[in-house]
C-alpha cells in the first residue's frame, strides 16, 4: 500500500515539474534563466489569441472563376496570334469563359484543334464557341488558390509581421491572421492588391486617339468608354491614368488609347526597389527585368523609339513616358507621385508577384491592442477572485478535507497551463473563461467524493474504509459527468471559430486533466494521511 502511494507521489511531482517547465516562457521568470536553459527548454509557451493581443483576422475568397476568365482571355490572344500567323481572317471575342470565333470554317477549326486540343467547341449561329473543359477549369482554380496562398505569404513576409498565420480554409478560402499588426489598413491593401503589372504600347496613330477628351472626371469613365466603344480599332483598348493633386485632393483621369496586347508583364521582373528622386525628393520604384524580360524590353524600346510605353498596374495607367532610345540592361522606373509608403508597398507587391485571381474579403476583424490588455487584466482579476471565493468556501464547508480539495484545484490549474503551453495552444478570452469555469468544475469531482465519504462515515464505516468505498462509488459518476462535458467541448471545437475554439480547448483540457487529478491527486492525499497518522475521525 505504501509503495503504491509512493509512486503516485513521484508521478504527481514529475507532472508538476514538467508543466512548470512548459509554462515558464509565459512568465517573467523566463528572462532570468541561464542561456543553456533558453536554448534547450521549451521557449514558446501559450500563444495569446487575437482578442487578447490585438491584431487582424481576415478571411478571403479566391475568385477562381476570374482566374479561368483570365486564362480564356489568354487563349483568345493566342488565337489571334495564330490567325495572324496563318493569315486567317476571323474575329475572336471573349465573353467570360467562352471564346467566340466567327465565321465557321473548317480550316479555322482544324488550326485551333491542332494547337489547343483540350478546348471544346459548340456551334452557335455563325460562330464557334470554345470553352475550357471543366477538368482543366478546376485545375486552374486549384492552382490559383495555391499560388494566391504563396503570394500572400511572400507579401506578408516582406511586410514584417511577427508570427502571422496564413492558411487555406475549405475549398477556396484563405484565412490570414496578423497578431499585433500596427497598421491594419495598409496590411489589408497590401494583401488584396492584385498587382497585375503590364507594359502596353500607346496607340497615338489611330485617328480616334485625337478625339479622346483630354481629361475625364472620376465616375465618368464608363460614359467615355461607351461613347468610343465602336470607334476604337480591334486590338485596342482605352485605359485611364490617374492624376491626383496632393494638395487639393482633386482627382482627374486621362484616357489613353493602348494596344491591348501587353508587351511585357510583371512576372518577368527580377527585382523592384524604392529610390528617391534627388531633384524633387519624390520616391519612385525602380524595377529590374530578368534576362528574358530584359531582352524583350530592349527589343520593344529599340523598335518603338519616340512612341509611348504605358506602365499599367491593375488596369490603371501609372505613367506613359516616351521611349527616348533603346534601353538595354532591363531597368525601368515607375513614377506616380508616390508617398514613401506607397512606393514601399508597391515594391513589395511587385517583388512578391501578382495574385492569380482577385480576392474577395469575407470577414475582417480588427482588435486594437488596448482592448486585449483590458480583457487580460479583467480576466486575471476574475480568476483570482473566483479562486479565492471557492477556496474559502471549501475550507468552511469541508474543513481540512477542503484544504485537500483546494490543493487538487491548484494542481489542476498548473497542469492545465502546462498542457496548454506544451501544445502552444492559443489562449482567447473565452479560453480564460473556460479556465475559470474548469476551476469551478474541478471542485465538483472532489465534492462528489466528499459527499460519498460523508455518507459512508454516517453509515458507520471507518475512515479508511469510508474513503475507499466512497471513492469507488463516486468514480463512475465523475467519469460520466466528465465525458458529457467532453462531448460538448469536442462539438464546440469542431464547429467553433477562433475565440470559441479557444474555449473548447481549455474546457477539454481542463476536464481531462480533472479526471487525472481526481484519480491520482485527492485519493493519494487521503492515503498518505491515513497511512501516516492514526486518524480517528476525518475532518470532512
Amino acid at each position: 500500500m505504501k509503495k503504491k502511494v509512493f509512486w503516485r507521489v513521484i508521478l504527481i511531482c514529475v507532472t508538476i515539474a514538467v508543466a512548470v517547465i512548459f509554462f515558464l516562457p509565459n512568465t517573467p521568470l523566463f528572462r532570468h534563466m541561464p542561456e543553456w536553459w533558453k536554448e534547450t527548454m521549451p521557449r514558446k509557451g501559450i500563444v495569446l489569441g487575437l482578442d487578447l493581443q490585438g491584431g487582424l483576422h481576415l478571411e478571403f475568397e479566391v475568385e477562381g472563376d476570374k482566374a479561368v476568365e483570365i486564362t480564356s482571355e489568354r487563349y483568345a490572344m493566342e488565337f489571334r496570334e495564330l490567325f495572324t500567323e496563318k493569315n486567317i481572317d476571323a474575329s475572336v471575342r471573349v465573353h467570360e469563359r467562352t471564346i467566340e470565333v466567327s465565321p465557321i470554317r473548317p480550316e479555322i477549326q482544324n488550326v485551333i484543334k491542332k494547337d489547343f486540343p483540350t478546348l471544346t467547341a459548340v456551334e452557335k449561329g455563325n460562330a464557334l464557341l470554345y470553352k475550357i473543359p471543366d477538368r482543366e477549369a478546376s485545375q486552374i482554380k486549384e492552382n490559383a488558390i495555391e499560388q494566391a496562398l504563396e503570394t500572400i505569404r511572400n507579401r506578408i513576409d516582406q511586410f514584417g509581421v511577427a508570427e502571422p498565420t496564413i492558411h487555406r480554409q475549405g475549398e477556396n478560402e484563405i484565412v490570414v491572421q496578423l497578431p499585433g499588426v500596427k497598421e491594419p489598413k495598409r496590411a489589408i491593401e497590401l494583401i488584396g492588391k492584385t498587382a497585375q503589372l503590364e507594359f502596353k504600347l500607346v496607340d497615338d496613330e489611330a485617328p480616334v486617339a485625337a478625339e479622346l477628351p483630354a481629361t475625364v472626371l472620376p465616375g465618368e469613365e464608363e460614359t467615355v468608354l461607351q461613347q468610343f466603344a465602336e470607334k476604337i480599332p480591334e486590338g485596342d483598348e482605352i485605359l485611364f491614368e490617374k492624376k491626383e493633386n496632393k494638395e487639393t485632393g482633386a482627382v482627374i483621369k486621362l484616357p489613353i488609347l493602348l494596344k491591348k496586347q501587353a508587351v511585357l508583364t510583371g512576372d518577368l521582373l527580377s527585382d523592384a526597389r524604392v529610390n528617391i528622386d534627388t531633384r524633387y525628393s519624390e520616391p519612385y520604384v525602380s524595377i529590374t527585368f530578368n534576362s528574358a524580360g530584359a531582352k524583350i524590353f530592349e527589343d520593344i524600346t529599340g523598335k518603338n523609339v519616340k512612341k509611348r510605353l504605358a506602365i499599367i498596374l491593375d488596369n490603371t495607367v501609372y505613367s506613359a513616358p516616351v521611349i527616348q532610345e533603346k534601353i538595354s540592361g532591363g531597368n525601368a522606373q515607375i513614377t506616380g507621385n508616390f508617398t514613401l509608403e506607397e512606393a514601399k508597398d508597391l515594391s513589395i507587391v511587385l517583388r512578391a508577384g501578382a495574385l492569380p485571381a482577385p480576392l474577395k474579403m469575407l470577414q475582417n476583424v480588427t482588435v486594437g491592442p488596448s482592448l486585449g490588455r483590458d480583457s487580460i487584466e479583467a480576466g486575471k482579476l476574475a480568476g483570482i477572485v473566483g479562486t479565492i471565493a471557492v477556496v474559502i468556501f471549501m475550507l468552511l464547508y469541508y474543513r481540512f478535507s477542503g484544504l485537500i480539495a483546494d490543493g487538487a484545484m491548484v494542481f489542476n490549474v498548473i497542469l492545465l497551463l502546462g498542457a496548454m503551453a506544451s501544445l502552444n495552444a492559443t489562449l482567447t478570452l473565452p479560453g480564460i473563461a473556460g479556465i475559470i469555469l474548469a476551476i469551478g468544475m474541478a471542485v465538483d469531482s472532489n465534492v462528489l467524493m466528499f459527499e460519498r465519504i460523508r455518507e459512508e462515515l454516517r453509515a458507520g464505516k471507518t475512515p479508511g474504509a469510508a474513503v475507499d468505498s466512497g471513492y469507488k462509488k463516486a468514480f463512475w459518476t465523475i467519469f460520466d459527468s466528465h465525458v458529457t462535458t467532453l462531448i460538448t467541448a469536442a462539438v464546440l471545437f469542431q464547429f467553433g471559430t477562433g475565440p470559441i475554439k479557444g474555449f473548447a480547448v481549455t474546457l477539454s483540457l481542463g476536464v481531462s486533466i480533472n479526471l487525472f487529478t481526481a484519480l491520482i491527486g485527492t485519493k493519494t492525499a487521503f492515503d498518505i494521511i491515513l497511512s501516516r497518522m492514526k486518524v480517528k475521525a476525518l475532518s470532512i
Binding site: N364, G386, E451, D480, I487
Partner: protein
C-alpha cells in the same frame, strides 16, 4: 416529487418563452450579433463621457442609417452596429470612424475593435452554430441512453433543451445580443446541465438496484434528496466562479458570463424538477429492474 406540478407550470412557461425567442431569432427580429446577420461593428472608447444621441445625429447627418448603438457607460465605450450586408467590405467602418473622429475632435478616440462580416460568412456561422447544437444534442442523447436507459436519455435531453431555451428566453426578454460567444456558452451549459442530470440518474440507478420493493416514485424521490447536498454545493462553487466572471470579467465576457450564470441556476433546477419527472412520466416498466 409532489411539487412536480408547480414545476411543470413553471417549465411550461419557460418552454413557451424560449420557443418564442427561437422563432424571433429565426425571423431575424431578435437582437442577433453580426456574427449571424453579417454587417459591421465598431467599438470605440471615448476619453470623456459622451451622449448617445450626439453620436446618432452625427452619423445620421453623414448619411448613415440603420445602425444600432450600444452603450457601455462604465468604461465610456460605445458599440456601433450596422446590420446591413455590404458586398464589398470596408466602407462602413471607415466612414463611422472618420465621422466620429471629426465630430469629437476634441477627444482622443481609441478604436477598440472593428468587425466586418460579409453575408456569406454570417450565413455560414449560423449554419455551423445550428449543426453544433444538433450534433451535441445527438451525441449526448446517445451517450446517456447507453450508460443508463433510453428514457433517461429522453429525460436528460429535454432537461438540457429546457435550460438552453431558458437562457435564450432571458436574453430575449432583456434584449441582450445573441452572438457566437453566447452560443458557445449555451453549449457549455448543456454539458454542465447534463452533468447534473447524470449525477441524479446515477443515484436513481443505484437505488433501483437495491430498493426493489419500494414504489418507483419513492425511489426517485429518495435519490434526488440524497444527492441534493452535492448538487447544491457544486452549484454554489461553479456559481461563485461564474459570478466572479460576471462582475469582474470586463464587458466583452459580460454576456457570456450572464448566460453561464443563468444556465447554472436553471440547470440545477431542471435536473431535479424536469429530468427525473420525465423519466417517471415516460412510464413503461420499472427501470433497472432485475429480470
Amino acid at each position: 416529487m409532489g411539487k412536480r406540478y408547480y414545476a411543470f407550470i413553471l417549465s411550461g412557461i419557460i418552454f413557451a418563452v424560449g420557443f418564442l425567442a427561437i422563432i424571433q431569432i429565426a425571423r431575424g427580429a431578435a437582437n442577433l450579433g453580426i456574427d449571424f446577420t453579417g454587417g459591421t461593428a465598431v467599438q470605440i472608447r471615448f476619453e470623456k463621457p459622451v451622449i448617445l444621441s450626439e453620436i446618432r445625429t452625427a452619423l445620421e447627418e453623414k448619411g448613415l442609417s440603420d445602425f444600432e448603438l450600444q452603450d457601455m457607460p462604465v468604461e465610456r465605450k460605445v458599440l456601433i452596429k450596422i446590420k446591413r450586408k455590404e458586398e464589398k467590405l470596408g466602407g462602413f467602418s471607415e466612414k463611422i470612424v472618420s465621422v466620429l473622429d471629426q465630430k469629437f475632435s476634441d477627444q482622443h478616440l481609441v478604436i477598440d475593435s472593428t468587425t466586418e462580416i460579409g453575408p456569406k460568412v454570417g450565413a455560414r456561422l449560423r449554419k455551423d452554430a445550428l449543426w453544433a447544437i444538433m450534433a451535441a444534442t445527438a451525441g449526448l442523447l446517445i451517450y446517456i441512453a447507453w450508460r443508463f436507459q433510453f428514457r433517461f436519455g429522453i429525460g436528460a435531453t429535454i432537461a438540457t433543451l429546457h435550460d438552453v431555451l431558458a437562457v435564450l428566453a432571458v436574453f430575449y426578454i432583456l434584449d441582450r445580443e445573441i452572438n457566437l460567444i453566447v452560443i458557445s456558452a449555451l453549449l457549455a451549459i448543456a454539458g454542465y446541465s447534463l452533468t447534473d442530470s447524470v449525477v441524479v440518474f446515477d443515484r436513481i440507478r443505484e437505488n433501483f438496484k437495491t430498493r426493489f420493493r419500494e414504489p418507483v416514485v419513492t425511489v426517485v424521490n429518495k435519490s434526488i434528496n440524497e444527492v441534493l447536498s452535492r448538487t447544491i454545493i457544486t452549484t454554489t462553487t461553479t456559481l461563485l466562479a461564474a459570478l466572479a466572471l460576471y462582475f469582474l470579467g470586463g464587458e466583452v465576457i459580460h454576456d457570456f458570463a450572464l448566460a453561464i450564470v443563468i444556465g447554472i441556476i436553471v440547470g440545477t433546477y431542471s435536473s431535479i424538477f424536469v429530468a427525473s419527472p420525465i423519466v417517471l412520466l415516460w412510464g413503461g416498466e420499472r427501470p433497472f429492474a432485475k429480470k
